[in-house]
Symmetry: C2
């Protein structure tokens, strides 16, 4: 089993690598080789019996995928991307990294006859927009209101078409908001969703910029990684008529998140949250859909977090161990 990962130095890439090496197999076959691509140097962990090759490469450069594809990987995780704010600030950069590089990857697979290679890409809830129904489902239109979501939606269509034509075996998973991300608060509008739990659990102050009634559709990092693994293993024939769908997140309000924090870490933790409304963040996050019937993902056996308390407990265990 040879697995290639683009964006391997990123948050999900790193977690996925560790989980793959710990597991040692994918699709019932021992992992013999990992090829890692990122523009930043990806950390290359050691693992007995696994050849790990890290390539520092800009995926927008001509031929960036040649070495990777010449080695005919069985599974490709395509995770390299510029995030929402960067794609909005620079249309050319977003199109080049998020769309053109994906197309080049597809063309590379086609040119080498990698019809059986499973290509798993991460899309996003940011691809939704417009006059959404109260509960979304697998047939809700993608009408993105940002360039990042537009580029992701275009990739979904192209991967679906290349898969339908038998040129590659593609699958695109739309990820919910990931909570709890480790690390520091960042510029992402959703940063607070991890911050209001992570910082208090670490004994630090956090700012909550939204009303506590606001809801989010979330998935834990562990479950996202489990979904990526499942995405490599799920039967291509079973996927159905379109090769992209939303993963089964859970809907939680900020109030429920804070109540869970109280249960897990007590009232002092909750007192570390300062409420400081920010209409800009409220407007962005408040426009994201939060209720989905994720029938396709469930029928295919994709995992779901069972309850929010487990997410918080798991983070506490991980950060104190």
């Amino acid at each position: 089993m040879h697995i290639a990962i683009t964006g391997a130095a990123g948050f999900l890439g790193q977690r996925l690598i560790h989980r793959l090496l710990k597991r040692g197999e994918l699709r019932g076959e021992p992992i013999r080789r990992l090829t890692l691509i990122d523009q930043s140097e990806a950390a290359t962990p050691e693992a007995a019996g696994v050849e790990v090759v890290a390539q520092a490469r800009d995926i927008t450069a001509p031929g960036a995928f040649d070495a990777l594809l010449d080695a005919r990987p069985d599974v490709i995780y395509h995770l390299a991307a510029v995030v929402s704010s960067a794609a909005e600030a620079d249309l050319d950069l977003g199109l080049a990294v998020n769309f053109d590089a994906t197309r080049a990857l597809l063309e590379g697979c086609r040119a080498r006859g990698l019809a059986a290679t499973r290509l798993v890409m991460a899309s996003s809830v940011a691809a939704y927009g417009g006059e959404l129904p109260e509960i979304l489902d697998d047939m809700t239109a993608l009408q993105p209101q940002n360039s990042y979501g537009t580029q992701k939606a275009m990739c979904e269509l192209l991967i679906n078409d290349y898969s339908r034509r038998g040129l590659v075996d593609g699958l695109v998973l739309r990820l919910p908001t990931i909570v709890i991300r480790p690390g520091r608060p960042n510029a992402a509008a959703s940063s607070f969703a991890s911050s209001i739990l992570r910082e208090p659990l670490n004994g630090e102050e956090a700012v909550c910029p939204v009303p506590t009634e606001l809801e989010l559709f979330v998935m834990s990092p562990e479950t996202v990684v489990a979904a990526l693994l499942h995405g490599a293993e799920v039967d291509g024939e079973a996927i159905g008529a379109f090769r992209a769908f939303m993963l089964p997140g859970i809907t939680v309000s900020v109030a429920e998140m804070i109540a869970t924090l109280r249960e897990v870490a007590g009232p002092t933790a909750v007192e570390r949250i300062r409420h400081d409304p920010d209409p800009r963040i409220q407007a962005i996050v408040g426009s994201w859909p939060t209720r989905f019937h994720t029938r396709r993902a469930e029928a295919l056996g994709f995992p779901r977090d069972t309850d929010f308390r487990e997410i918080v407990e798991a983070f506490r265990v991980a950060s104190t161990s």
Copy 2:
């Protein structure tokens, strides 16, 4: 008023040109100039006071749109495309003509600051697919099951994003099946839909390859052209969160089409239809959606055919005059 038309030598391009010249104005302004692009030589009609420039050009060639865009048209109709069967037979050609050329056109508008130029493009019912609901609406997902529909859907997303960013004033109209097309039967799966009316009205034989219960979602050529005109005039602000939607066709069964033929042209006309089932055509056409709530188009005032009999009458008048 300067209007540019790509695909000007095609079926809709030619009809649009004649209607524009007959009308003499668009958005209340006299038409002074028409720039026509097509790879085939477009017929250039004479009209007093209108400068008509025809450019024989392959729109996939570098700089193909330069002369057109340098002249800063007020309205661009982007109708050049390779049709469904050609795009399915040749993925590269479909991507180059249907997608890359559209992107080049958008980039050309952006580079020249043509933010106020209304770009009207034609998309298609072929962009729909997958597990569709019984009645589709403006929020039904595009999950195309063919490369042509994939390329049209990608253009919709890109035009929406360029419009949202204020780089152009775009609008994409998804067209129903056009009935009655003049001319001869062709390789299109929907060819019979025009043929079973047109040939009998012209005293010729026609073949009906589908069961008469089969339904279609149709629009007359006159109404499509009226919709294209309206597409140039509708207020950009009013369009809403997504710059693409389905036009209001009408749902008719083949049995109703034949009954209308009988009303208009009598039983001898109907006897000219030979029923010869073709499972391949049945499978393709039977998968097309036929029932839509086209709320966005209706709210914006797009025209609809009032009844099927009028479509047949109009064709008879046109072809005997």
